[in-house]
């Protein structure tokens, strides 16, 4: 029983890592698609602020492309941290979604602080000592407690809005409610654990310390004070493993949505590296069956595109 939190945590991290890597590979391995960018494109340097592109330039193919990483960061960082698009286009939902997401970020920050603290204490105990250790612990508690509170309030807000807004309710499946309830239960339990038995995040920090140092010692507690942190840790672990298996993996998809689709304006110039790839894609056989195509698995895209129309 004492090993259970460790087993769940390692298993959860394993599932999380494998699922994330699989998801990234899934998006990476999809074939090149036709250009489908959507302006404004943030890396268009001097033109991004009004949504312009290099296609506004005379003989654009003769000119060097201006691409701005800073422009992308200026758009992406506020979008990730503050959910700018949601705030602008759906402010009522943003009031619930922002605390939910920001709460998650704080919980992640809390976990990272505990992990770094654990590694630091194992390798260089003198590094985090004295005032710095107290500050570090304060940051862990502040991030953890604030994050769990915001996350819980946000999840409750999102659930209530989904339940009480007819247009949202009619689109929602049991799975959508389950996801929010899962967060509510897990974060709620974590908050209870914090308030009742672990106000300085000492047990949580110890668990994380043991995890990162592979020291699987039993957590020093008994009764409810043992059960609560262990159940919380187990639930958090399952939640971590569950997220990338659902549509909530949009935090990965979003990267590709922007970089591979919305902002993918890289031109294919004659003789460039994409031409052989395109030739390969066009050589694939199609099976579209409409009378004007009759692909049948024997025609390639090139065949279908170049056959003469019946006179």
């Amino acid at each position: 029983m004492a090993l259970l939190p460790y087993v769940v945590a390692y298993a959860a991290l394993g599932v999380f890592a494998v699922a994330i890597v699989a998801r990234i590979f899934f998006w990476l391995r999809l074939p090149m698609h036709l250009r489908w960018e959507l302006y404004p494109v943030a890396h268009e340097a001097s033109k991004a602020h009004y949504g312009g592109s290099y296609l506004e330039e005379l003989d654009w193919w003769k000119k060097p492309r201006e691409k701005s990483l800073v422009g992308e960061l200026k758009m992406m960082v506020p979008e990730i941290l503050l959910l700018v698009a949601l705030r602008e286009h759906n402010p009522k939902l943003w009031l619930r979604s922002f605390p939910f997401h920001f709460g998650l970020y704080l919980v992640i920050a809390c976990t990272v602080l505990m992990m770094v603290g654990g590694v630091s204490n194992a390798l260089l105990p003198s590094l985090l000592s004295g005032d710095l250790a107290r500050l570090w612990q304060w940051a862990v508690v502040a991030c953890g407690a604030t994050g769990l509170t915001l996350g819980l309030l946000g999840a409750i807000g999102l659930l209530l809005r989904r339940l009480t807004t007819p247009a949202l309710r009619s689109f929602s499946s049991a799975g959508d409610y389950f996801n929010l309830l899962f967060f509510i239960v897990t974060f709620g339990l974590a908050l209870i654990t914090f308030v009742v038995v672990d106000r300085d995040f000492a047990q949580a920090s110890l668990l994380v310390h043991n995890l990162v140092t592979f020291d699987l010692a039993a957590l020093p507690a008994s009764g409810a004070s043992q059960l609560l942190p262990q159940v919380t840790a187990a639930l958090l672990g399952v939640l971590v493993a569950y997220i990338p298996l659902t549509h909530m993996s949009h935090f990965i998809g979003k990267y590709f949505a922007y970089h591979a689709i919305r902002w993918n304006d890289a031109p294919n110039l004659r003789g460039g590296p994409e031409e052989p790839v395109i030739a390969g894609l066009l050589a694939q056989k199609i099976t579209w069956a409409a009378p004007h195509i009759k692909g049948g698995g024997t025609k390639s895209w090139v065949d279908a595109a170049t056959e003469e129309a019946p006179k």
Binding site: L38, V41, L86, N90, A167, A257, A289, P291
Partner: protein
């Protein structure tokens, strides 16, 4: 108002799922602010209601109701077959990644809803919520392609009604992608509407006749969706040259099939038929600027349209190859595409990952070249000739989908007196569609013309009225809606006619290059024709 209450209705309810009364809509600005005075969508005929499955107040595709259970099964089976093919890399490499992104990550938050002109002008009818059709196809995908749990992803029945209604519903979207701009995650409802259209066309052979049979098929067969073959088009352009020469006071001659010319100019052939002044203006300015240019009389190469971008990747590729082969045959240095939004997008951006080798000749938007000509000083301009209020409609394909925003504005600064230009709000990449996007401008079967004016077109009309809000609204004070796109121009012409806006408020329309000629010192004044046509 009648609207669906969820997704069971979509497959189970009998009869139309939605009906919008004029009183459900928000009044337009003055002088069109009396709802009861607005034209109404004419009711569908009893014959049409009997023959076709009716989704709402109109019919775009005309899918006959199945006559027998076997017909019903066939409709469902071919749809399902097409749905599966959408997710096969060989059959749909063209859009597989964007499609999966939109299938798998929607949070069903409705952040996109208010971006949609159809949804907003319908009084927020649930059927037109941009995520509604997406959710239908998404549920079908999870249930029938991935065979995943309906508890997790939501349930929907698949029967002939689901299929007919979904295909019809795919033609209630202008594919303007305004909703996609708002999505925090990157879900693209317009793309999903287009993918549904692809299932219908590429697998089931179902598409509105205006964009398929008398659209892309006719273009590939005869050379133009207008029905003009190369002889007729040359005759017509000769006539345009003569007419333009007379109108502007110096000779205009359009060169044809000049091998080795620097530029192949590609017009939407609809301009030749409906707006010859646009074609004449290009010829006059290109000649005056001393450009080396030509038109092509090769099959389809004198008509820059490519309706495939709205509904069918194979049809798209076929027309594209005809355009690219004509350019390669003439050995031009670049292709310049005139005032047609979808032609620009089709041949410039989307074609980018199709054309290789000799066919991969650079493409450029006509307004970019026009701005360069005007900046060079080769054309002397007198903006006072355009001393009337001008507003600019931004074609979605040029701004939101290509990022061409400033050249048209810089041109207007050169040809319109200070204080006469007013922006629509919103404008640029955040513009609203004219209401004719994705083929709607050329679709008028049954009462579809009324529908498109009454929903997406009404939002554009609202914007136009707001832009001219401080002007006297009568015919004695003419105002110009500049729409540098053939389909947008057609739609705006139809909206103005539908609401009688020329007679009532003096609102007229036209392209951009016509205003340039109108301000050209070397041309006789009065190129813009204020007589309604």
């Amino acid at each position: 108002m009648k609207e669906p209450t969820g997704f069971k209705d979509f497959s189970r309810a009998v009869g139309p799922l939605a009906h919008v009364e004029i009183t459900d809509q928000v009044p337009l600005p003055p002088p069109f602010d009396k709802l009861e005075a607005e034209p109404q969508v004419k009711p569908l005929s009893d014959k049409a209601r009997e023959k076709y499955e009716v989704l709402d107040d109109t019919i775009a595709v005309s899918i006959p109701k199945p006559a027998t259970p076997a017909d019903e099964e066939r409709l469902v089976a071919t749809f399902l077959s097409g749905l599966r093919k959408l997710f096969e890399p060989n059959n749909n490499w063209t859009f597989l990644q964007p499609l999966l992104m939109s299938m798998e990550h929607c949070a069903k938050c409705h952040t996109c809803s208010e971006a949609c002109p159809v949804f907003m002008e319908s009084g927020e009818n649930e059927l037109y919520r941009p995520a509604y059709r997406s959710e239908v196809i998404r549920r079908l995908y999870y249930k029938y392609v991935k065979q995943a749990s309906t508890l997790v992803h939501g349930d929907i029945d698949l029967n002939w009604r689901t299929v007919s209604r979904l295909i019809e519903l795919a033609y209630r979207c202008n594919l303007c992608r305004r909703c996609a701009q708002t999505c925090p995650i990157g879900v693209d409802n317009a793309l999903l509407a287009r993918e549904i259209r692809k299932i219908a066309s590429q697998e089931m052979g179902i598409a509105p006749k205006e964009i398929h049979t008398t659209g892309s098929v006719l273009q590939q067969k005869v050379g133009s969706s207008t029905g003009m073959n190369s002889l007729v088009v040359k005759d017509n352009v000769d006539f345009i040259d003569e007419d333009t020469s007379e109108k502007i006071g110096f000779e205009v001659k359009t060169p044809w099939d000049v091998e080795g010319a620097d530029i192949l100019l590609l017009h939407n052939a609809g301009e030749i038929m409906a707006w010859p002044e646009n074609v004449g203006a290009f010829a006059a300015i290109f000649n005056k600027a001393g450009l080396s240019w030509t038109l092509s009389s090769e099959l389809a190469a004198y008509d820059g349209i490519n309706y495939g971008v709205w509904y069918d990747d194979v049809q798209y590729a076929r027309t594209l190859i005809l355009h690219a082969k004509a350019a390669a045959k003439l050995k031009v240095k670049k292709v310049v595409i005139g005032e047609c939004g979808h032609a620009n997008k089709a041949y410039s951006v989307i074609a980018d990952k199709v054309l290789t080798g000799d066919l991969n000749i650079p493409r450029e938007n006509g307004m970019v070249l026009l701005l360069d000509i005007l900046k060079s000083g080769k054309i002397k301009l007198d903006p006072s000739r355009n001393d009337f209020p001008v507003t600019l409609h931004d074609p979605c394909n040029l701004v939101r989908l290509m990022g061409i925003v400033q050249p048209q504005r810089e041109i207007l600064k050169l040809i319109v007196p200070p204080g006469r230009f007013r922006e629509m709000e919103p404008h640029g990449v955040h513009n609203f569609c004219c209401g004719g996007g994705s083929g709607f401008a050329i679709m008028s079967g049954h009462n579809f013309g009324d529908w498109r004016h009454h929903f997406p077109g009404r939002r554009k009309f609202r914007q136009i009225l707001e832009a001219f809000g401080n002007e006297p609204m009568d015919k004695e004070h003419p105002k110009y809606v500049c729409a540098p796109c053939s389909n947008c121009k057609g739609q705006i012409r139809d909206i103005i006619s539908y609401y009688n806006a020329w007679e009532t408020a003096g609102i007229h329309y036209g392209g951009l290059i016509e205003l340039v000629i109108n301000a050209m010192v070397d041309a006789k004044p009065g190129y813009v024709d204020w007589e309604w046509h």
